[in-house]
């Protein structure tokens, strides 16, 4: 690392702040351990103090439920989040500013984890590559937690002859599985790859706001225990959508959900602003929009949609929490509130959010394709148009989740129009993928195999989506297992497989090792087969008329549920194989060169392991991305026969 030139070459005229003590100051003492101590300590203090102030036996005048536990749990959650962030050192920077102490260059280098070795992963480190790895680990943890709950759900539904879990616990595992997976999938690509790869891809030395980057990941880490703790306090018994007034009936575990969302929305907002600013302002010299890789567009689009959508969710949960704890009545119809208001706020997040998941995975696939097909991305402009179209429509389709609510039957017509329109820009992205596959000799590696899996799944998810976008057909499918199968095909079939492909592709850059091709592929295809079994037969259950979120059902649904359960266990096995491949490759795999895929993009031109500030000399971009391939022989041949007529018609 010492061979890298310093990022800031200061001119002699600017006076530099003096260095007091060792670089980093108090940050030298703070790490994940002090974060835990701070979080748990403040949580205990807040809980004890609150319990002294709430009169025992105080009950809510609305639900008549005892309120002491609510206030104590709320205080514990707030204490945990604030204490953890303080213990990590999140407040050190702002306090230094308030005291007028400027950071020196050495301080900044310490904060970026210079010469800290592995301990930098446990600290409030500002280096985007460290944050990327941290996001990767958090994704694994949240995904593993959600996946475990999925196995419990399928166990219950597979055992058609008995209730394995109590109805209350079953309801809380479906809710917790839902929100855990939504969080895992939102961060799965944008988190690890958005942070690790995007700055390198655009030729920058770090993100625009490195400290906000650290803030976003550690807020996310702070949110995870809020979510997990809720499962042990009665859980989220109302689905991840947490519709009111059912959410007000739920036990105090509901507060854990609400706090998770409030904190997660802050984390997402910060990360979105950071990524967008970085992409807008820090692209290398010469990287015009037509020379910007498509993945950067995808991350920008996801950040933009996240920035627009998450505040709705956050407000809905703040108001919901207020209804619960302070007996307000935003959503309580008995006191003049409206359940439809909640549904609107929720789905204003809910639909852009699926594109927050899908667009980055689609974009990372379009990044993988040219490298393994050794030809340029087919119609780059069309890909950009597809992403822009999805972003433009994403905010206008939310009420298709509310066709059957009776909220406003007349608006079903425009929402049916906007929803079915969105299949056009999504179709653009499909064309770009198959156009890039067209006539190519493929280099058959794991990342490319994930592309095939995703496109297959996405076609099924997309086609089943048009039934649901249609009001008359939705009159049958709404609230049935068909919906569950459809959105798993989109969010898991596209999101999870895309994340597997993306992580396999960038694994050599992130870890210096190559992901084991054999076991990685076995894992991928095992998951693929299990996935088709699980959700293919779930379509059948939905067509037969099985409602979603039930733990018992008529005998006619038995067979499709057994197949689903077998498929789900297969997915579990496949995921473990893939995870095993990641862990063993990371630990024991052979080191590879900086550019094992022979890619031409900027991020692969850095050495591996990537030095602290990525580029010793900032690069200058002189050509479009994806300049792969040779002149088309057919093209040459036809030109010889037909002169220029063919070329002018575009028949290349």
């Amino acid at each position: 690392m010492s061979s890298v030139a310093p990022a800031h070459v200061h001119s002699a005229e600017v006076p530099q702040p003096a260095q007091h003590g060792k670089p980093g100051g108090i940050m030298r003492r703070l790490n994940f351990g002090t974060g835990l101590i701070g979080g748990i300590g403040l949580a205990i203090i807040a809980g004890v103090v609150t319990s002294q102030f709430v009169p025992s036996g105080y009950a809510s005048p609305v639900t008549f439920a005892p309120m002491e536990g609510e206030y104590v749990y709320l205080a514990v959650l707030l204490g945990w989040v604030i204490g953890f962030m303080a213990g990590m050192g999140a407040f050190v920077g702002p306090i230094r500013w308030m005291l007028g102490r400027e950071s020196t260059h050495l301080d900044a280098e310490y904060m970026a984890g210079k010469d800290l070795g592995r301990s930098r992963y446990w600290k409030y480190t500002t280096d985007h590559k460290v944050v990327g790895i941290q996001y990767l680990i958090v994704t694994f943890i949240v995904f593993g937690f959600g996946g475990l709950l999925a196995m419990l759900i399928r166990t219950e539904l597979g055992a058609t002859w008995t209730e394995v879990f109590s109805p209350a616990f079953y309801n809380s595992i479906i809710g917790t599985h839902g929100i855990a997976m939504i969080i895992a999938m939102i961060i799965a690509v944008s988190g690890p790859l958005g942070n690790f790869i995007v700055p390198m891809m655009i030729g920058a030395r770090d993100m625009a706001y490195p400290r906000l980057n650290a803030l976003s990941i550690w807020l996310l880490v702070a949110a995870v225990p809020c979510l997990i703790s809720s499962l042990f306090l009665g859980g989220i018994q109302d689905g991840w959508s947490a519709y009111q007034p059912l959410a007000s009936q739920a036990p105090i575990g509901m507060l854990g959900y609400q706090m998770t969302i409030i904190v997660f929305a802050i984390s997402t907002g910060i990360a979105s602003v950071n990524l967008m600013t970085t992409i807008l302002t820090m692209r290398a010299k010469g990287m015009s929009w037509s020379r910007t890789p498509i993945f950067v567009y995808g991350i920008f689009a996801a950040s933009l949609m996240g920035l627009y959508a998450f505040p709705f969710y956050q407000y809905s949960q703040i108001l919901s929490l207020s209804d619960r704890v302070f007996n307000t009545s935003f959503f309580n119809p008995l006191e003049g509130g409206s359940v439809w208001l909640y549904e609107n706020l929720f789905w204003l997040l809910g639909h852009p959010e699926v594109y927050v998941i899908i667009i980055p995975t689609a974009a990372v696939l379009m990044e993988i394709l040219p490298v393994f097909m050794r030809k340029p991305l087919f119609s780059f402009n069309f890909a950009v148009a597809g992403i822009v179209g999805v972003v433009a429509l994403s905010g206008l389709v939310w009420a298709h989740h509310m066709y059957m609510t009776g909220w406003a039957p007349a608006v079903n017509y425009p929402f049916m129009l906007s929803t079915e329109m969105i299949s056009i820009p999504v179709g653009f992205l499909v064309l770009v993928v198959i156009g890039t596959l067209w006539r190519g000799t493929s280099w058959s590696r794991l990342p490319l195999m994930a592309v095939y899996a995703v496109v297959f799944n996405k076609m099924i998810g997309g086609v089943t989506g048009i039934y649901l976008s249609d009001v008359p057909a939705d009159q049958y499918f709404h609230g049935s297992m068909f919906v569950v199968a459809h959105f798993h095909y989109m969010l898991m079939g596209a999101g999870f497989f895309g994340a597997m492909g993306g992580i396999a592709f960038y694994f050599p850059k992130m870890t210096g090792k190559i992901l084991d091709e054999r076991y990685g592929s076995i894992g991928l295809w095992t998951v693929f087969v299990g996935f088709q079994l699980t959700f293919g037969s779930m379509f059948v259950a939905g067509l037969q008329g099985q409602p979603r979120r039930v733990l018992q059902f008529d005998e006619q649904f038995d067979i499709s549920n057994w197949i689903s359960t077998i498929g789900a266990y297969t997915i579990g096995v496949g995921t473990l194989i893939f995870l095993g491949a990641i862990i063993f490759s990371w630990r024991d795999g052979p080191m590879v060169s900086g550019n094992p895929w022979a890619s031409k993009s900027l991020e692969w031109q850095t050495p591996t392991p990537v030095p602290l500030e990525n580029f010793a000399v900032l690069p200058v971009v002189t050509e479009r991305p994806y300049n792969y391939g040779v002149p088309d022989p057919y093209d040459e041949e036809l030109r010889a026969h037909d002169g220029d007529e063919l070329e002018s018609a575009g028949a290349r």
Binding site: Y243, V339, V430, L437, T441, W443, Y476
Partner: protein, 285 residues
């Protein structure tokens, strides 16, 4: 290598043919183009049975018992049919890319590069036109069907008809955790937990809830509407088949959501009237 497989014959010169047809014929001479087209047709025909299989699955609970449900099934049939060509084409390209065009599985990056197809104006325009046209067809179809269903639901019930008229049956549906109750306001306070309906007579549902959100789903009748606390939603249907059909709750409503089921019995007008009398409800009309 595909790129070295030159066409067998030389392309004809575009003497007296229209140029577009000439280009298309030229293009179809390439072996992969023919293969992908053939595969598309084959896969399309393999997918075709889905049109009927989906309906068979939907009818497993019971065949449609109202015109609305028949409209829904027609919609499902048409949508499946319309989406098959595009799906078949994409699957054909995926499959051909895996089997037809060459694959290299070396550990080292392949030395050889592929033809640089940056774009193809005809392909892009064709794709956009076809997918947009299909999407527009779906929108128009959906809107016409929706308008028709709305007319079927409410059209036969005059807006001014008071409770007490006997051109239609009015049922006040109330969801509560975890039962459905059906009140017949045209009778003298008749309340039931099983829905009785006379056949071939329009029914008008006023749906509400006492506690949380439920969803009133009469499966074979094709009726689905949320039961919201603090609001009344409406739906309508004309059952056209005698028999016993399912009613389920289709919105998570708490612990025993799975068991919130009942049935609807569609009977003749005489049976309905005698049931009303038996239950002690006198028709007020």
């Amino acid at each position: 290598m595909t790129m070295t497989q030159a066409p067998q014959e030389q392309p004809e010169s575009p003497t007296n043919r229209p140029p577009s047809m000439h280009r298309f014929k030229n293009w179809m001479r390439r072996p992969y183009a023919r293969h992908v087209m053939i595969w598309t047709v084959v896969i399309g025909f393999l997918l075709l049975p889905l049109c009927w299989l989906l309906l068979a699955a939907m009818n497993q609970t019971g065949a449609p018992a109202s015109e609305i449900m028949q409209d829904i099934e027609t919609t499902v049939f048409v949508f499946t049919l319309v989406s098959i060509p595009i799906t078949a084409f994409v699957f054909a390209v995926l499959l051909y890319s895996l089997i037809g065009w060459k694959r290299i599985s070396s550990d080292e990056p392949p030395m050889q590069e592929n033809p640089a197809i940056f774009t193809n104006r005809i392909g892009v325009v064709l794709w956009t036109v076809v997918t947009s046209a299909l999407a527009m067809f779906l929108v128009v179809w959906g809107m016409i069907e929706l308008a028709q269903i709305t007319a079927n639901s409410y059209g036969t019930i005059s807006a001014n008809e008071q409770p007490g008229g006997n051109q239609s049956v009015i049922v006040n549906v109330t969801g509560q955790q975890w039962v459905w109750t059906f009140a017949y306001p045209q009778t003298d306070g008749l309340v039931s937990d099983i829905l009785y309906l006379p056949v071939d007579k329009p029914v008008y549902f006023n749906v509400t809830s006492k506690d949380v959100i439920h969803n009133f789903w009469a499966v074979e009748l094709g009726v689905k509407i949320d039961a919201n606390p603090g609001a009344v939603t409406t739906a309508g249907v004309t059952p056209n088949k005698l028999g016993t059909f399912n009613i389920r709750c289709a919105e998570l409503c708490g612990m025993h959501h799975a068991y919130m089921e009942t049935e609807v019995r569609v009977v003749t007008q005489e049976q309905f009237d005698s049931w009303v009398r038996e239950m002690g409800g006198r028709r007020t009309s």
